[in-house]
Symmetry: C2
Subunit: 344 residues, 2 copies
């Protein structure tokens, strides 16, 4: 009698499709909820200021490989990834909660390493560790971090507010973390055969450093404030430029073009990409985890960003019908497809 139950694979929807599908029927009941699901962080009206909340889960074997990720770096990066989402709202992170689930292969000393990295990042970004949960896990290490920040009313920046004619900017070079990952994957066998060799914070080359010890662009939020600039839209590069640009465009109902010559790529990235026989621009577009800020500005604000150190103007927002395009150095036009890092 029993009918076979319908079984849809989560891969049929993809990560973002899945979230949309599962959460679309949730109403927002509270007046204080200013922004729900769909941006780098949610926003709550707490009276004088806006409270900004972002959360991320990091799973061993999916988001990190402890074979080449020292626990101290992992702790540091876990905080960076979360505060980066707060900065992407033009807000300042103030507090974090850290929950961890660990199997019994982790010693107290290993956790001390993890927390020493968390402490370093808390100090650097000025955030307080205010809570969390510690539990056991049947297998591996999982972390869940929630970052809480604040922003003055009216200064918050969303993904869905880019306008045609806005200039598209990026806070720094792209693709390095992706190549750092490729190097570490290649070197994994070396680590395996000599487990006593531990990478340390001071001795990484640029690419590996961008992967293992990324920084969130706190300085950009400070610069925006000093220049009295409020970007028209913003997102941080966690899944790759192509994917983040797709989010801005689809949510804002616009298109965009990117000049290949305007996309900043570090010389080490360029060289390593060629060594691996990758196209450097593809690494910049599809690699992730750079944690730079991708933002759009009103064209009248161009002088405000022109001399901001490290900021590159690399394209423009165009009507939706014109799509999302790359103008190559060779004069060709390619469509940019959303293609971040797929975890499923």
């Amino acid at each position: 009698m029993a009918e076979k139950e319908k079984r849809t694979d989560v891969n049929d929807l993809g990560e973002f499709g899945l979230i949309d599908h599962l959460t679309k029927s949730f109403p927002l009941l509270n007046e204080s909820t200013v922004k729900g699901i769909g941006d780098d962080a949610a926003i709550i009206d707490s009276g004088k200021m806006l409270t900004v909340v972002s959360t991320d889960m990091l799973i061993e074997g999916i988001h990190f490989d402890l074979m080449y990720t020292p626990l101290k770096h992992l702790g540091y990066k876990a905080v960076v990834v979360n505060v980066s989402d707060i900065y992407a709202m033009n807000a300042t992170p103030k507090q974090i909660t850290v929950s961890i689930a660990i199997s019994n292969r982790f010693s107290v000393e290993a956790l001390e390493e993890l927390y020493s990295g968390i402490a370093l990042a808390c100090d650097k970004y000025g955030v307080d560790l205010i809570g969390g949960d510690t539990t056991s896990s049947p297998k591996g290490l999982s972390m869940s971090i929630t970052a809480i920040g604040e922003v003055a009313k009216g200064k918050q920046v969303y993904r869905n507010t880019a306008k045609v004619g806005d200039l598209l900017c990026i806070s720094g070079d792209l693709g390095a973390a992706y190549l750092g990952l490729q190097i570490l994957e290649r070197e994994k066998q070396i680590y395996l055969s000599t487990p006593d060799v531990k990478p340390d914070l001071g001795d990484q080359n640029y690419l590996v450093g961008r992967l293992l010890k990324p920084e969130a662009r706190k300085d950009m939020i400070v610069q925006f404030d000093q220049a009295k600039l409020i970007p028209t839209s913003m997102i941080d590069i966690s899944d790759g430029l192509a994917s983040e640009l797709y989010h801005i465009c689809s949510q804002s109902g616009v298109g965009a073009f990117v000049e290949e010559s305007g996309v900043p790529i570090h010389p080490d990235t360029e060289k390593q990409a060629i060594d691996f026989k990758f196209d450097p621009i593809t690494c910049a577009l599809s690699g992730g985890e750079d944690y730079e800020l991708l933002f759009s500005i009103h064209p009248d604000d161009v002088d405000k960003v022109k001399y901001m150190p490290g900021v590159y103007i690399m394209g423009e927002i165009v009507p939706k019908k014109d799509g999302i395009k790359l103008h190559t150095k060779g004069g060709n036009i390619h469509e940019i497809t959303a293609q971040g890092w797929k975890h499923f």
Copy 2:
């Protein structure tokens, strides 16, 4: 040459000792951080009101067994557990974030079930789902929920503020969820042999219902407000009365006694405990997951709670030197030792 690294097992510290150990050196840098680690929730000063934040991680195989926990119930309970921590601060939950990590054995339909339970609880407790993360996991299902609430300044209630002479109260009966778990563990074989039999929300007996569909005591916070009562300390019963009482006493620097005759135990709990050859009071003291509120009140406030439905006065706060004691019905005095549910 390599020295053998020191390896301390996390069990040597226990869950609470481990959190203390890992977080003791974290300073609180921001003025807005009112309460950090160590209570049911953290508190942030957001200007007009206080923002209350609590977070919990739920791991398959540690916190729940999908063999007898329908996904809808799991989703519902995951929200309840978190909003309960907010109520335990005398605050009102307003928003939650839900992050899940899932292995590929979970279909979209299974996740719909999970989220339908989350939606039910959001509706019941008036909270908005405002964010989260969805990722894959090499094994099983993990959830991390952060609940955010608010409370007027001065109305928040901590664990560490019980005073000698205060009366110890509980919002409802204890031990039922623990016996519900014992029943389900016994019945697991039946579920295994007939996987099509699914328990549904309306058809549970009291004990299993207390485990699978617990409720958080929103109504108590409303009653406190109506009666103009602010408890002197409060905590929710997640790990068991003995463990929670220990937290209040050790953090407040006091002792307590509990009258066995004052501890509310449901007739079904009493009967089932005896069937299992357990002592009912032991189930009430050491069983967990009842999500009742344990609180202390100033003796002048006794008339305010006397007629609150479901509230029992079961003991008193005494000087620290008098310890934490149970006065049995038989006239004996036993020491109560902190003994919650150990996950490690």
